[in-house]
Symmetry: C2
Subunit: 313 residues, 2 copies
């Protein structure tokens, strides 16, 4: 799983940071990627990545401020042009469906794929055999959500020798067992997957939060998550502004990660006031509270592999 | 007057060409600039120019396809943030007002300036003492307009010696006469502006056309214009596609400029199929029909001065 930041700015776009959008790449897991927020020019940023819009499966919107949604219509249209024919699911607060309907109608944008818009207000917003996504309301100036993406436990490792002892021949049956399904041998005996595989492997969990003040629900979403993506619009000096505008400081983000027992924190939604070089200072402010802090940059990418988060070069 | 192209592409944005938007800079004439079409990320392109969104006075939309309007909400919002408090007039086809209303409401975008949306269907869409803007319907797949901007005749040059002979003292009275107003001298005599100034100077005229097939109305708008900006989505080889999709070839654009008796043609809305190097070939195709052809590039700028159009370096 990789997290690729398309826009890490707060409010207006600047040359260094575009408006909010991040891609959760699940190419190994599902052969698709999901988008969290879609600020203006998200599709322009995608041009500078290896992301293929036709592989975009789901879009989750945290709240309806322009810097989180104004890139939606253009991307939805382009996904069709670029050969996207599979269904796309779009999740977000009430009002999103009306805006999308009016926008596509007025601009005569005809999608050659099914678009399902789900207006969320909390709880489980998506679930299938391998993933579940929960939403909880946060504390911003308008309704705003955080999302927790959980990969369900993976079947344990296949114990080859045990399987051969049990008479399982090389070939497809081994794959069935590896994927957690019992099999029947030629001689009618049944081999149970659980008997020839190691213990189930825990999946990863990621909390991707929208704009918010420090709030218990953020801690809830971050509960022992492998990665938390939390806004850090303000810093120690400008902390007094955070509350009024419904935002957080880097310290709030660190507290959420710490109290949630998360493994890593990536701070985004960084105000244009902070130039990339200031990012170092921002991280330092948070480190004494929570040591595993990264400051997101546009087009920065992080990979979660073998239980470890590392920043890709 | 300068014309600065922010986006010169057709349909989807590419790395070389953004979606449609161009700035008509009237800084000397009115201290403002006007925008024609506002595709997604127009405000991002503006960051790479000297244009100040608070100086944006008017926006003219040719038609409601996404690649011509999806940059509007973001720019309208940013204009307010960047200290724009003067009224902004937005002109475009029916449906624009509804989309802007719904978009600003749903995204809680509060403008700290007056926004007046005018749904045009042709004729004079704006006029004051110094400028008039006419619109005519073109021939695209949805309602689409072309705009003709005419600068009204400028008062003639002040003939200083003639004014001094008439007893006009140095100072503000000379300025009044220069700007076409008669004055009263200390001794009660009246000096008529027309008597001490040269003949009125003709203003410039520019035709900025939306997506269209070859159409007589385009020629009408281009009638002896100093500059015509016409789309050229297709070329000789792909000409067969033009009609079906409601577009033109570079040859259609050249014919409009020629039959309209215009002085110069700038082709824009260039398909991503044509890389910047191909632009040379595009221009050559048109030159035997109309010699003064330029192919617009993103961030290319043209200046109209002393009756001459030249490309700024
Ligand atoms: Zn925001
Ligand atoms: Zn177009």
């Amino acid at each position: 799983m990789q997290i690729e930041f398309l826009g890490t700015g707060a409010g207006m776009p600047s040359k260094q940071r575009n408006t909010s959008a991040l891609a959760l790449k699940l190419l190994e897991e599902r052969g698709t990627f999901w988008l969290f927020d879609c600020g203006e020019a998200a599709q322009h940023r995608i041009l500078h990545t290896t992301l293929k819009p036709k592989k975009l499966e789901k879009i989750f919107i945290t709240h309806l401020h322009g810097d989180h949604i104004f890139g939606l219509p253009g991307l939805l249209g382009s996904r069709g042009f670029l050969g996207g024919t599979d269904r796309l699911d779009l999740y977000g607060p009430a009002g999103l469906a009306e805006w999308i309907e009016v926008t596509l109608r007025i601009s005569r944008t005809h999608l050659n794929y099914e678009l399902a818009v789900h207006e969320v207000d909390g709880g489980t917003v998506f679930e299938d055999e391998t993933f579940r996504v929960e939403a909880l309301p946060l504390d911003h100036v308008i309704p705003c959500f955080g999302y927790r993406i959980e990969q369900k436990p993976l079947p344990g490792k296949l114990l080859i020798d045990r399987a051969t002892e049990a008479g399982v021949p090389k070939g497809p049956l081994l794959r069935e067992l590896k994927e957690g399904r019992d099999v029947e041998l030629g001689d009618g005996r049944t081999v149970r997957s659980a008997d020839v595989t190691g213990p189930p492997q825990p999946g990863f969990s990621v909390a991707i939060l929208g704009d918010t003040r420090f709030t218990p629900n953020a801690i809830e979403l971050a509960r022992s998550a492998d990665v938390v993506v939390h806004e850090a619009t303000y810093d120690r000096e400008t902390a007094h502004l955070a509350g009024a505008y419904g935002h957080s400081t880097i310290l709030d983000a660190a507290r959420v990660a710490r109290e949630g027992g998360a493994k890593a924190l990536i701070a985004n939604h960084i105000s244009a006031r902070f130039l990339p070089e200031d990012a170092r200072k921002l991280a330092e402010e948070a480190e004494d509270l929570f040591p595993f802090v990264e400051i997101a940059e546009d087009l920065s990418e992080f990979e979660w592999k073998d239980g470890q988060l590392r920043r890709l070069p």
